[in-house]
């Protein structure tokens, strides 16, 4: 009976941990959109894992620390920030999603 109670306690803590971990493990407020406007589809930034969805031509580019990769390559990473930019030098709307 004691073992059963012990197991139930461990499982309960595990469920609570997983639930809150998934909900609050990242802090979306720590990203400043003004600092990320320079990320573009040429993958010239090796600090982030990000995806750019160009809304003009629907092209999707995935950059993994400065290297262009396939979408499946980052499927185990979690999106932690997303933003719909209007464009950089001219109007060319795109969605930026940062993964961690």
């Amino acid at each position: 009976m004691v073992e059963l109670a012990f197991s139930i306690t461990i499982l309960t803590f595990f469920f609570l941990y997983t639930y809150y971990y998934n909900k609050y493990d990242y802090n979306i407020y720590t990203f400043d959109p003004n600092n990320l406007i320079y990320l573009n589809s040429s993958c010239n930034n090796n600090l982030y894992i990000y995806k750019i969805i160009n809304l003009t031509n629907n092209n999707i580019t995935v950059c993994y620390f400065g290297k262009q990769v396939n979408s499946t390559y980052i499927q185990n990473y979690k999106p932690v920030f997303e933003y719909l930019y209007a464009g950089q030098d001219y109007f060319d709307p795109y969605i930026l999603i940062i993964f961690k």
Partner: protein
């Protein structure tokens, strides 16, 4: 012996669940609606300052599709002395614009979307957006003028 089985079963369950959680990262489902509103606001201002107001209409269309895609409700009413090509508000519709020359008289339908402070903003030339972002459990209403 029985107690060992129970502990062993607990450990196995935890390992299995850990793998499931690790390999199924959840999509962003908790963006605060005020961050979405801020995204809209900042980019409309950016467009106006850098590309010109003629692109505002196009951005609002993209923004509406985007918010729908991530399961947020987004709607706006704008008040503008420039013709933004956004459809004109008639009655109770949203995602529309009130166009005016000179001074604009704030009516009740706009105040549903705008904060009372909005009345203070009434210079001759401006573009204002009153917007509303809501998700299943949270909402945000704000306005800005450029």
């Amino acid at each position: 012996m029985k107690s060992q089985y129970i502990l062993l079963a607990t450990i196995i369950i935890i390992i299995i669940l850990s793998f499931i959680t690790y390999y199924n990262p959840s999509p962003i489902d908790n963006i605060n609606p005020n961050l979405i509103g801020k995204n809209f606001e900042d980019q409309i201002i950016y467009i106006y300052q850098n590309f010109g107001y003629i692109y505002i209409y196009n951005y609002t269309l993209h923004f509406q599709n985007y918010t729908k895609y991530i399961n947020y409700n987004f709607s706006f009413i704008c008040i503008s002395s420039y013709n933004l090509s956004i459809q004109e508000c008639t009655g109770n519709n949203t995602n529309c614009c009130h166009y005016f020359n000179g001074y604009f008289t704030v009516n009740k339908s706009i105040l549903k979307y705008c904060n009372e402070n909005f009345i203070l903003y009434n210079p001759p030339d401006w573009i204002c957006f009153c917007y509303n972002v809501s998700s299943s459990n949270n909402y945000y209403i704000n306005f800005f003028c450029i």
